[in-house]
């Protein structure tokens, strides 16, 4: 493991993140509307009152000045205050991170447990009816709209059968492990579906590439069983292309799943983002998007390092 390399990558991430923050700030402020729009239809809120609120949140200053103010406080760890709730941005984010990590983590776990074997089986039985069936299912999984699938599951399991709560994080006055499990099953299933589909495709194609290599033929010639060849000889190499995708998907977990969380009333980061977007809550949006950006930058570094670990031929200098 080359620590000098990792250090250099981390240092290189600083200008990258600064650039990202500038672009995000510009996009957020260029989007039509603003935090004070919510007062647009209330004739009783006077221009003076609007001005007073604008001053209180620094919204009266030009955007570049606002950016510098935001950056300065961010550098000393002050994420600012949410315009919508008046509470510190960091407090709000921490509050939502737990449910989001639970949901995203479980969804990724399900994805990993299913995508790897499905991808391998598809590759090993390439061209078979099983492979075609799995391919079709994958495309169905990738192209099924999340909100539609969610609605169907809710109607079946909550309305028809009455087995599961249709939405929410826990029951009021409950919150035991089983209660929370009942709440998380449907959103985690819905969330993992597209990931299973896309990951299994990557693993399948990686595996097919590797299975055509000479050393695999050699392994078979030595008399290794198919299972032994795939697991001991092929899998590690077949995983390399999939690692980038999986690592970045892991990183996006902390940004939350906007649609799934909204449909299932899940109190996570994705919903917080949605609410903040609707209210044009600038400090909140910047905090959320910067957190997501840091996650992706770090995940990319981890993916590169994992590459080297999986493939001894890769050396970063």
């Amino acid at each position: 493991m080359n620590f000098g390399y990792i250090l250099r990558r981390l240092l290189g991430a600083i200008p990258l993140l600064l650039g990202i923050s500038l672009i995000l700030f510009a996009i957020v402020h260029l989007a039509p509307g603003g935090p004070l729009d919510m007062y647009a239809e209330n004739p009783a809120v006077s221009k003076e009152a609007l001005q007073q609120i604008a001053v209180a949140y620094g919204l009266d200053k030009p955007a570049p000045v606002q950016y510098v103010m935001w950056l300065k406080s961010m550098l000393v760890g002050d994420w600012g205050y949410s315009i919508r709730t008046g509470r510190p941005v960091l407090t709000e984010i921490v509050l939502r991170l737990g449910p989001t990590l639970e949901l995203g983590g479980l969804a990724l776990l399900i994805s990993l447990l299913l995508a790897v074997p499905l991808g391998i089986i598809s590759a090993a039985r390439r061209g078979s009816k099983l492979d075609s069936g799995l391919t079709m299912l994958s495309f169905a999984g990738i192209s099924t709209p999340v909100f539609w699938l969610a609605l169907l599951l809710q109607l079946l399991f909550s309305v028809q059968l009455g087995w599961l709560p249709s939405a929410g994080y826990k029951s009021i006055g409950d919150g035991s492990f089983l209660d929370r499990l009942a709440h998380i099953i449907m959103p985690a299933t819905v969330l993992s579906l597209a990931t299973i589909a896309s990951w299994s495709r990557f693993i399948r194609s990686g595996m097919i590439d590797v299975l055509n290599q000479d050393y695999i033929r050699t392994a078979y010639a030595k008399g290794r069983s198919e299972r032994g060849v795939i697991i001991l000889h092929a899998l590690r190499n077949a995983m390399i292309p999939a690692v980038t995708v999986i690592a970045v998907d892991f990183a996006t977990v902390i940004s939350g799943a906007v649609i799934t969380e909204t449909v299932f009333a899940w109190p996570g980061i994705g919903r917080l983002f949605m609410e903040s977007m609707d209210g044009r809550d600038y400090p909140m949006l910047m905090g959320l998007m910067m957190m997501g950006s840091v996650g992706i930058v770090v995940a990319n570094i981890i993916a590169d390092v994992t590459y080297a670990a999986l493939d001894p031929r890769i050396r970063y200098g």
């Binding site: 709730t85 709560p165 939405a167 929410g168 609410e275 609707d278």
Partner: protein, 536 residues
Amino acid sequence: MTFELTRRAALQAILAGTATLATMHAFPAFAQQKGGTLTVGLTYEIDTMNVYSTGFLGDAQAAVVEGLLAPDQHAKYVPVLATEVPTIENGGIVVAADGKTMTVTYKLRPGVKWHDGKPFTSADVKYTWEAVKDPAFKAESKDGSAEVASIETPDDLTVVVHYNSILPTFASTLFTFGIFPKHLLEGTDLNTSSYNETPVGTGPFKVTEFVRGQYVVTERFDDYWAKSEKGDALPYLDKIIFKMIPDTNTLITQLKSGEVNLVVSTPYSQAKQVEGISGIEMVKGPLLSWQHLDFNFKRPSLADINVRKAIAAAIDRTVLSKAQGGFPEPIKSPVVPVFEFYDPNTPEIAYNVAAANKILDEAGYAPGSDGVREKNGERLSYAFMVQAGRADDELAQQVIIAQLKAIGIEAVANNQTGVAYREARYKGGYDLIYGRWITSADPVYSVFWGTGGANNGQSYSNPALDAALSKFETTLDPAARKQAAAEFQKILAEDLPSIPLTTNVALIAKTAALKNFVPNPTNMTNFVHTAEWYMG
């Protein structure tokens, strides 16, 4: 789907439910007593429980925090923590000798307790004013705090409010929104106080749990001051739970599964689905909102009353309503019918395309080669603005464009979003503009059409209207106000600076089990009078 999250628009997106959770269907054995648990679904996330700083209408807040007065189902004020609504007749309002200022005296209800058991007194009322007007307090609404010059509290149950002007709409301002508990909040920072999550009020329900993004649980306050007519202790309900469910499809699903049983404002597009759910009934409630078409008087042709009249005659409001699911109701006055100041005798220009064409022909607007009329080199072609992205508004715009085409007037959509729309509305960056206003229970109309009014982007000025509006807004005598209201409604209908088109209704889907529920059209929400509700 659109998420409408403004305090006002939220009025149309509020959902309420009455149900125990699916897992807790059974009622306790003593169910013959009036009680039960009500589960309310809200489509927005409650930002703060503080009525003065929330960006939404205070649904959950209304069950917890009370003001001195509150609007009833007819948008008329009734006493809550005060013993009567101050008027000139009962001596509650005294106008100064010079006629420029007034003093309002509230007699407070004795024996009212805060949720922590401490007595409610006049000091709390005075503190509320001091806290709200404090510039350091970031509040969404400080209405009426600047007009108060000083407050005296001669005894625990008397509050004397000295105003620095005549403010007939005083009841629509701060003491109605809610009263702060002085003994808990004095000396604290209201922006960061725990009051914003678990407010202590005097209302029928007290907050026991607030979980952000999930729910607010309120439980029966045993020492609540009010009794029913039969002398029963109030409130009846044991609990009201407010669940935050941002997706309206999910909400309807929860209605079906019984996890939520009452929806105070179903989206129009989902009304059909809700009607099919057994045990759920749909109630229509009026809303204090109106949609209107405004003219910019900087365009010479629009400053011509003939053109405005022709446009008024060309618009068929029933089609506008149909285009929006048939739910908005046609109106002829900006004072919507639920108000006592609405004058049913307000004149109305009937839908009549032939008459509209005749008016324009006679006024000398001749159709050009492309069918669009013109006069003195000005084509009757107008830039027509609605707020972009609002599906209902854009539909209405298309209907109006088609109807104007029938009389040789061209309207070209020029829609803007958010701030740009608001700027245009204030500054007159349009020829025609369609939009809506949502008001409190006692609105001021001079801001819209008064000369130089804050929301008058039309450059409209009419001294006769100014006089009538001024009389309406500075007179305290109800009979004189009513007369002034009829007068300004008539002027508006005849001079047509704006065409009132439709008013919205709230579609309330409620379980048949919820009794005594009465819809409230005002910004104080349906939850302003929850004490007598029960599950039967």
